[in-house]
């Protein structure tokens, strides 16, 4: 498996605060990777390290096989990046900003700029300060896509867009980037978007990786079994690999499973029971389960 992004024990401290703490990430080439976590969990700091905007305190990272500290300029020329709040020169027009940016990218394609600005119907002759939030996001995306990058890094890309623009935006990314074998790494709180488009996700909390897996595996393995047995299960019954939590619920149990679901489910069915049911977990449920909770910042 070729990796588009890899980090090994990547750490960033601000004074004594660990914003990113020993992060190990692996983003396969050609995937759409969702980078998820609550506010202040270290997502943006990680992205800034990948881009070389911030230097890691320790650990290492590679983007497209290049070292994030030594080859940072090279990396930036090869990837497309869209910041969470695209800060752009308000006094420039869209056209002027595009002309300004194209100089930094050897692989810039004017044809792509034309194609996307027509698609978005973006008024490029207007001053950026007069554009709406959605328009600014679109302009930032055009600039991120114009160098025809093999990796696109997006920080909360769809948060400022209305539902129609969001679908348009995601479709462009799917068609132009993923459809041609390139990689997308993005952070988002819009979990319904992530659920639709991502191959893999990683959950981070307090700068640490809590869970990373393929979307399909999460869907099929992460479930809760609700069971009311006819008599108490034998001691040790719940000590199976894959069971992450067991709670009592009246005279029954809620068994949270993260792996080996089929096996555990079969074992529960074999026990004489009054009731067995499976509760599916969507991405929002998993988000709360993995990174929600009391020690939030």
């Amino acid at each position: 498996m070729v990796l588009a992004v890899e980090t090994i024990n990547l750490t960033k401290e601000f004074n004594s605060f660990k914003a990113v703490d020993g992060l190990n990430l692996q983003v396969p080439e050609g995937s759409v990777f969702g980078f998820l976590g609550p506010n202040g969990s270290g997502k943006t700091t990680t992205i800034r390290m990948l881009l070389g905007i911030t230097k890691p305190t320790s650990g290492e990272g590679k983007v497209l096989g290049l070292d994030i500290v030594k080859d940072s300029l090279n990396i930036r020329a090869k990837i497309g990046y869209m910041a969470e709040v695209p800060e752009m020169y308000g006094y420039m027009t869209g056209e002027e900003l595009i002309r300004f940016c194209r100089g930094f990218y050897p692989s810039w394609e004017d044809g792509l700029v034309k194609k996307y600005s027509e698609l978005f119907n973006l008024p490029l002759k207007n001053k950026i300060s007069s554009l709406s939030k959605g328009m600014k996001s679109q302009l930032a995306l055009i600039i991120a896509l114009a160098p025809n990058p093999s990796l696109l890094i997006l920080d909360e890309p769809t948060s400022g867009l209305d539902p129609i623009k969001r679908v348009q935006f995601l479709n462009i990314i799917m068609k132009e980037i993923v459809g041609t074998g390139k990689t997308v790494f993005f952070s988002s709180h819009l979990l319904s978007d992530v659920e639709r488009v991502c191959d893999r996700v990683a959950f981070i909390k307090n700068g640490r990786l809590v869970k990373t897996d393929s979307m399909d595996k999460l869907k099929t393995q992460e479930k809760i079994i609700r069971a009311v047995f006819q008599k108490e299960p034998p001691p040790g019954f719940f000590e199976k690999p894959g069971i992450k939590k067991v709670q009592r619920e009246g005279n029954g149990y809620l068994i949270s499973v993260e792996d080996n679901f089929e096996e555990i489910f079969e074992a529960c069915k074999k026990m004489p029971n009054f009731l067995i049911e499976v509760i599916d977990q969507n991405l929002e449920d998993l988000f709360v389960a993995y990174v929600g909770g009391d020690n939030d910042v």
Binding site: V32, V167, M174, K175, G179, V197, C198, K223, Q281
Partner: protein, 134 residues
């Protein structure tokens, strides 16, 4: 004929499996006939705003099972030859539905007798409608 796909991205069934199921059912139920063309990976991923990798995965599995044929450079088609759902698969679907019924009945505290009454009532109803439809 253009099949209308619907997705539940937040369900516990992976999206590629949802696509497989819909195409299988449409083919088995006669909604799609042999030789019908399916949307391309690109078209379907755009229609549903999903990852093209997901559509490819679904199509590959359907091709392996002999339900569709992917002719490179031409398109994706429903296979010639009969597509039928295996008896075992049909039974599995029915079993799930029945199980759901019992789960619901348990939560509502229904006795077996009361459930049986409702079951037979619904059965009669459906049978009458079925006869009228003939």
């Amino acid at each position: 004929m253009k099949l209308h796909f619907y997705l539940q991205p937040s369900s516990g069934v992976p999206i590629y499996k949802q696509i497989i199921k819909q195409i299988k059912h449409a083919a088995a139920g006669g909604l799609l006939s042999a030789g019908d063309q399916l949307p391309s990976v690109r078209e379907l991923s755009e229609d549903l705003t999903i990852n093209p990798n997901t559509v490819s995965k679904a199509y590959q599995e359907l091709e392996r099972d002999g339900i569709i044929e992917i002719i490179h450079g031409v398109g994706t088609f429903v296979s010639k030859g009969n597509i039928f759902m295996e008896e075992k698969e049909k039974e599995g679907l029915m079993k799930n539905a029945v199980k759901q019924l019992f789960t619901e009945a348990y939560h509502l505290g229904f006795s077996f007798e009361r459930l049986k009454g409702l079951f037979l009532e619904a059965y009669e109803d459906a049978a009458v409608k079925g006869r009228k439809g003939d």
